[in-house]
Symmetry: C2
């Protein structure tokens, strides 16, 4: 893997699908949760974008590690970690949950799977939430077990995903609602499959338990996908930004609170639900957030890659924010990006300037998310 540019070592873990990804010509990796995330296969991100919107793709998203919390105090600990009201959470449901610290700073934005009243998975973005959960549990003396099980999500994404998955797993898979999961027979084992994924094109995530089954599962999906023009893929930057799908570490960090991330509908601000950071979050809500995540459309020709954030200013030069993910959208025929925007400037339609590293000040406008 010399072309990946990474020092391949045990520290940056391979996934149960890495061999398959390599066999299918993966062109380099990123690193999430100390694990390899395929970065690209197709000749260009734009070809990959059109394919994802038209057909179906198989994605190695095993980097979405599960933090498993079980035991008598599991439900209490999970609720302590998020401002989302989990009192009516039910088995079979996936819940997108902001995780915050005592200052209401964002620590992660996982999908929560309630597997039983005393068993939960947090399917995490890029931070060691297992250490946060363990620290809280040890510090509070909670009766829980916190582990990283041998579970490696494989995503099937795109408009043909439902047909492909129905071929393999029957009509029950088509009956799953968005962000619902069921238990299905996969290679003779019982596995969690959810209607979810890191795209807006529809699809599923198979939470494969048992890494030794990875190559076989990939092959089964691949064979079934031949009639649907399946390709190997990975989260697509154009599609992700157009869909308003944020990325922890990019659009928001521990320096951001969930309200400015747009997670207000997921935050219970009353005193009935006890969670860490509640007082801090209530204070932020009372004063009103000082910035808010927004979409930005901007011109000036194709933007260079957004390896470093692009400063965003008012037309008079006043700093308003920074674009943390940005790229050219061939469908919208303009550049699209996401940025926290200072209060007073975040209304849809507000005009501003985006400063790219090629020295161009580009005309931009606040847009709704998703684009």
């Amino acid at each position: 893997m010399a072309e990946s540019g990474l020092n391949m070592s045990r520290r940056i873990r391979r996934t149960p699908y890495t061999d398959s990804a390599e066999a299918h010509g993966v062109r380099g990796f990123s690193v999430v949760n100390h694990m390899l995330l395929p970065k690209a296969y197709a000749p260009s991100v734009e070809e990959d974008y059109w394919h994802l919107r038209t057909h179906v793709q198989i994605w190695d998203v095993a980097v979405q590690r599960q933090v498993q919390i079980t035991g008598p105090d599991a439900a209490r600990l999970v609720q302590l970690m998020t401002p989302r009201d989990l009192r009516r959470a039910r088995v079979g449901q996936c819940l997108y949950v902001p995780l915050i610290d005592e200052h209401a700073g964002m620590l992660n934005d996982p999908v929560l799977l309630k597997l039983a009243d005393d068993k939960f998975w947090l399917s995490i973005a890029d931070s060691d939430i297992l250490l946060w959960a363990k620290g809280l549990a040890v510090g509070m003396g909670l009766d829980v077990a916190i582990t990283e099980p041998d579970v490696s999500p494989l995503a099937i994404q795109g408009p043909k995903a439902e047909a492909l998955m129905t071929d393999l797993f029957g009509s029950a898979i088509a009956a799953l609602g968005h962000f619902e999961y069921g238990i299905f027979d996969v290679l003779g084992t019982s596995q969690v499959i959810a209607r979810s994924g890191y795209s807006k094109q529809g699809g599923y995530e198979i939470y494969l338990e048992g890494g030794h089954l990875g190559a076989d599962l990939w092959d089964v999906i691949w064979q079934a996908g031949q009639g649907y023009e399946i390709t190997p893929g990975c989260p697509n930057l154009i599609e992700r930004i157009e869909g308003g799908l944020m990325s922890y570490g990019n659009e928001f960090t521990r320096a951001n609170n969930p309200l400015e991330c747009g997670f207000a509908p997921l935050c219970h601000l009353g005193n009935e639900v006890e969670y860490i950071g509640r007082t801090a979050l209530q204070n932020i809500a009372a004063n009103g957030p000082v910035q808010m995540l927004r979409g930005i459309k901007f011109g000036g020709g194709r933007t260079p890659p957004c390896g470093k954030p692009f400063p965003v200013t008012a037309r008079d030069g006043r700093p308003l924010g920074q674009i943390t993910s940005g790229i050219f959208s061939p469908r919208l025929d303009c550049n699209v990006g996401m940025s926290m925007i200072a209060a007073g400037h975040w209304d849809i339609g507000t005009e501003l300037l985006v400063h790219t590293p090629d020295g161009i000040a580009r005309d931009g406008v606040i847009a709704a998310l998703p684009f």
Copy 2:
């Protein structure tokens, strides 16, 4: 940075020295603590190895992030996190400290700097120890502040480091003992400089506080190094293995306890010192560790890269361990590696087999660390 193979984005953070590293021709990066670590500059790891042993190098090791713990309960929290007895730790000292969880599993192996009785830095390897420390503090209601300050270590390594640093900072820098630090004037600011580093060739680490000074500091070192044949560098795999310097995530993980890592001299097993995981560690000590980290010399010609661990067996095929870091040493004229080795087989001189992915079963022998 197309050649790096990484999706450059805000999530994988640049350091205050990344621009300088790129200007000096860095050939790709690894990722540690969500941040870029230069991977190679020189034409080969062997040329780099000989240079490091002969001259002096400048390394961007800003990935060694500091977890800063301050406040009335800071000393208590730091002691709770490590089995090392810190009762006699003093300001001015650097201490290598295993961090363990409630099961005595390794969480990290940072260098601890005691900056004051109520102020500590943990200079960490690749895991989010800030979240562990915060979880404990919130869970226990400790009166501490836990932050990641704007501190980015720059390492000056190699036998000529002392002369170079004396030119810049005076004879006080030569008077520093191993794993001692002092406060020095750097670019008109007061900065921590320690005699330490991730090599066995001698040298210093400048804990630069203030990322805006990064490029200037690099330039000052670079200019002063011209008379010492300075080159840009990074931790060298040959030198690291020969020196027995372990890497968290490679040689050991949360599945390992500090005794089998060889950290027994750093573990206080009595009841006078209170720390998390003490009971678990006492039990392991009472029963004796079931494996122990060892060096292995092995032949069969130059080993392929150790991207996946190499199984290690007895001559009769019984599994004994796995080499987690391994490479050819041009100085020792054989391959060298590190592996946990099962009890009964870890004596120096024990013969065994190393199975590399090219299908060769190579003759090996247990060796002392460092080689």
